[in-house]
């Protein structure tokens, strides 16, 4: 019996495509964010409120993933921005190839921000790099405040945690400070925003975060030389 070392990531094919996507986003100055959460935490609602408030003069597009139905894309299309549904047909996460295929007939150079809505699942999407600049994890107050401890991978890999449905705080036994403390135990530098997609509380701060995150993204990548050969 001979033992030989093997090298590389198990998901190297996904990572290879994700890297290619990341390079395209950088070349075209497109901030890509990957929204993740349990089912029902409010990813689609947050996207609705975001598109509703989208500043004129900036271009945004959304890819929204679900196992079945076009429901989310229909909800999001009424704001007039490009929206495409990715139905995974059973797969519990988006992978980089699905994103690459969905982007085939879009011109990345026309975009400033690309928002990805992952399949509702706090486990599997954390393993698949989609080329995004950052993951944003949404946690709603109707879930347990110990979710960051139960699903550490997702909270560890996210840059921002959005605590949604804060309008329900008077009615549910959710200790928001405990949720923050748990999230920071998993990820000490996690940024945190609290908001309600229903009342609109906290959405101004979320829109400001998007603007500042795009600015820091652009500052971090070399600005593109206008190039018509890409995508």
């Amino acid at each position: 019996m001979i033992r030989m070392p093997m090298e590389g990531k198990v998901l190297k094919e996904n990572d290879r495509i994700a890297l290619a996507l990341r390079e395209q986003y950088a070349a075209q100055g497109v901030l890509c964010l990957n929204l993740v959460s349990s089912p029902g935490s409010g990813k689609t609602s947050l996207l609705e409120r975001t598109l509703e408030r989208w500043p004129t003069g900036h271009a945004v597009a959304v890819l929204t993933g679900d196992i079945q139905t076009e429901n989310d894309a229909q909800r999001l299309r009424r704001f007039g921005f490009p929206v495409k549904q990715i139905t995974t047909g059973g797969t519990c996460h988006l992978d980089a190839r699905m994103i690459q295929r969905a982007l085939e007939d879009w011109r990345l150079q026309d975009l400033d921000v690309l928002l990805l809505e992952n399949v509702g699942n706090l486990v599997c999407p954390s393993s698949y790099d989609l080329g995004e600049a950052a993951k944003v994890v949404v946690l709603s107050v109707t879930e347990g405040e110990d979710k960051p401890l139960k699903y550490p991978s997702m909270f560890f890999k996210s840059e921002l945690m959005v605590i949604n449905k804060t309008d329900l705080l008077p009615y549910v036994p959710f200790a928001i400070e405990k949720a923050v403390e748990n999230a920071r135990r998993v990820h000490a530098d996690l940024e945190i925003l609290k908001l309600s997609c229903l009342t609109g509380n906290g959405l101004t701060e979320w829109m400001q975060w998007l603007v500042s995150r795009r600015n820091s993204f652009l500052a971090g990548v070399q600005r593109p030389v206008p190039d018509s050969s890409c995508v």
């Binding site: 019996m1 198990v10 797969t91």
Partner: protein, 115 residues
């Protein structure tokens, strides 16, 4: 439940490697999985065995090395495993420690029969 896709990716790597082995039969493949990788070892074993069964790769076995989350203290350079989310440095008590490893999902080794 994405362990089936991960098991499949491991097997693709084994098949790629095996084509370079001049007929030597791979008997065991090793992977490293970090505690923050969001992969369940038991489910991965189950999926791996299901995919191998009835193929030329049988009786290929999977060896999983579980890797704990490790942090480094920038003050005293201590590297330590993080147990139960306590990231404070056990040596000097430093509160701001840095992530070192624990999200691995990597290929480690391949064993082949030397016949």
């Amino acid at each position: 439940m994405h362990e089936m896709g991960i098991a499949n990716a491991i097997l693709e790597a084994v098949v790629t490697e095996a084509t370079r082995l001049n007929g030597q039969h791979p008997s065991r493949v090793g992977v490293r999985i970090g505690e923050l990788a969001a992969v369940d070892p038991e489910a991965l074993h189950f999926c791996f065995d299901a995919l191998v069964r009835g193929t030329d790769l049988e009786p290929l076995e999977l060896d999983i090395e579980l890797c704990p989350r490790k942090h480094r203290c920038p003050q005293c350079d201590e590297v330590f495993p993080v147990v139960d989310y306590f990231t404070e440095c056990p040596r000097c008590g430093g509160l701001r420690t840095e992530f070192v490893s624990g999200d691995e999902l990597e290929l480690a080794f391949l064993e082949v029969d030397d016949q």
